[in-house]
């Protein structure tokens, strides 16, 4: 479904990604883990068309999308829920959600999708008229996830969805991701919660200093001594 080939990305003079290659197959949950500043966000932002690779190619559903801008990717079903929420603060929860389904086919299905999203996050239904800025941090995170789902993604990329959520909500959110996946959406998950992420993922990749140093099934990675020491603190 998604294939990344020898991608190099630079921020100014600093090389953030060095010849990164990875794949995500239809129906999978793939976890991307690594320390802060390893390049995880850069990688998913590059896939979503926020950054341009200097070299390398990215394929989505068999087509080369390396040079496509972000909004066209959303229309094709490749959706990123970015780290740090990025809601429109002075728009209502409802308007934020509706903007999620602005591109492509998703707009036609707005009402049905909205119903599903409200079922997942009842709090958002209660607060639909409130300005996004008046939500608490964790509630804003839920709104950002919900907005991503409004686009009816084929490939959903989540960058740290559990950031700032209470433990109960972390579980619920990750359960939601599993449900979304079971319903047919492919998932690429960046998560600091390494243990949770690898447990629920079919496969995972470990990114260090801009390079993929390891790949394997979630279980293989969880049992890997290097990973245990570096990321799980065991």
């Amino acid at each position: 479904m998604l294939k990344i080939e020898n991608v190099n990305v630079f921020h100014g003079d600093v090389q953030a990604l060095k010849s990164v290659s990875m794949t995500v197959e239809q129906g999978e949950i793939v976890a991307l883990v690594g320390a802060n500043a390893a390049g995880k966000s850069t990688l998913v932002n590059t896939v979503a068309g926020v950054h341009r690779p200097r070299q390398g190619r990215i394929w989505f559903l068999g087509e080369d999308i390396t040079k496509l801008p972000g909004h066209l990717l959303v229309g094709r079903g490749l959706v990123l829920i970015p780290e740090g929420r990025h809601l429109f603060p002075f728009m209502s929860v409802m308007d934020n959600l509706q903007l999620g389904c602005y591109c492509g086919e998703a707009r036609k299905h707005q009402e049905a999708t909205l119903e599903g999203v409200f079922k997942m996050f009842p709090m958002l239904a209660d607060r639909r008229e409130q300005l996004a800025v008046s939500l608490s941090g964790g509630e804003q995170q839920m709104c950002a996830i919900a907005r991503g789902l409004m686009a009816r993604p084929k490939l959903l990329i989540l960058d740290e969805p559990s950031l700032g959520l209470a433990p109960l909500m972390v579980q619920k959110t990750l359960d939601t991701v599993k449900e979304i996946n079971a319903a047919g959406t492919t998932v690429l998950l960046v998560e600091q919660n390494v243990q949770h992420a690898l447990k629920m993922a079919h496969r995972g990749y470990v990114l260090e200093n801009g390079t993929i140093v390891m790949g394997g099934t979630g279980q293989e990675l969880l049992n890997n001594p290097h990973l245990k020491k570096a990321y799980l603190g065991i």
């Binding site: 802060n36 780290e83 964790g138 509630e139 700032g164 109960l168 600091q192």
Partner: protein, 240 residues
């Protein structure tokens, strides 16, 4: 008692964000504050630090009333804070950002710079002192928040989710730093959702739910409290 909060209430229109909250913090303690998203934790921080005036109730610091004071006055009295949504001056270097904190106590640029450098060194940010703040990772920007707050030489430091986004190894490093900050004489009041962190570091934990304090006590007791499990944890948290 270093900080004493009495019957503090704050409403937004019809919503009671903080309801009749009373508690105290002793000098030298590390006190955790947990609760579901939207429970009122950040609002409580805003009330203590003067970012919001309370609707009712009273905040006292070192025996003097501080509720009603502007945030900069509260900071002068010795309460520092970090923000959950970090907002460094993006086009200024890490060092310059840290100096925003140290200038608060010392108008002399050389001394303020030296103080800022020491804080960056202490927090492990010296390696990016010349980097623009907008280019820092989220984890480093969170540490820069701590640096700016430390620069104001707080007696009481309020930390709002400074460990969000860190992996377990990085969390362990941060816990070491917080313990060191306490050893150097700063009392800590900490909002955090990472249980491994808050349980390990707190002497006492307060639990806020729907704006009200539902329980408080040592970590082990709070982790076994059924109301806390139902409202917040979702399952029993096992303390090693």
């Amino acid at each position: 008692m270093l900080l004493e909060v009495k019957e503090l209430t704050r409403t937004f229109g019809g919503l009671v964000a903080v309801r009749d909250v009373s508690f105290g913090i002793e000098s030298g303690e590390i006190v955790g504050l947990i609760g579901p998203n939207g429970a009122g934790k950040t609002t409580l921080f805003n009330l203590v630090t003067g970012f919001l005036p309370p609707t009712r109730g009273d905040v006292q610091f070192e025996g003097r009333r501080i509720s009603g004071l502007l945030p900069n006055r509260v900071c002068h009295r010795g309460i520092g804070r970090t923000f959950q949504m970090v907002k460094p001056f993006g086009n200024m270097t890490t060092l310059r950002n840290a100096m925003v904190g140290t200038f608060f106590r010392d108008p002399d640029p050389r001394r303020a710079k030296r103080a800022a450098e020491e804080i960056l060194e202490f927090l492990g940010l010296a390696r990016c002192r010349e980097a623009l703040a907008k280019n820092l990772t989220i984890a480093d920007r969170k540490r820069l928040e701590v640096a700016r707050a430390l620069g104001t030489q707080p007696k009481l430091l309020l930390l709002d989710e400074t460990m969000a986004g860190l992996n377990p190894t990085e969390v362990a490093d941060m816990l070491g730093l917080l313990r060191e900050i306490r050893t150097r004489g700063t009392t800590l009041f900490v909002i955090e959702h990472i249980m491994a962190a808050i349980m390990a570091i707190s002497d006492r934990i307060l639990v806020l739910h729907n704006g009200g304090l539902i329980t408080q006590g040592p970590p082990r007791q709070v982790a076994n409290d059924q109301a806390v499990i139902d409202a917040y944890l979702g399952e029993r948290y096992l303390i090693a």
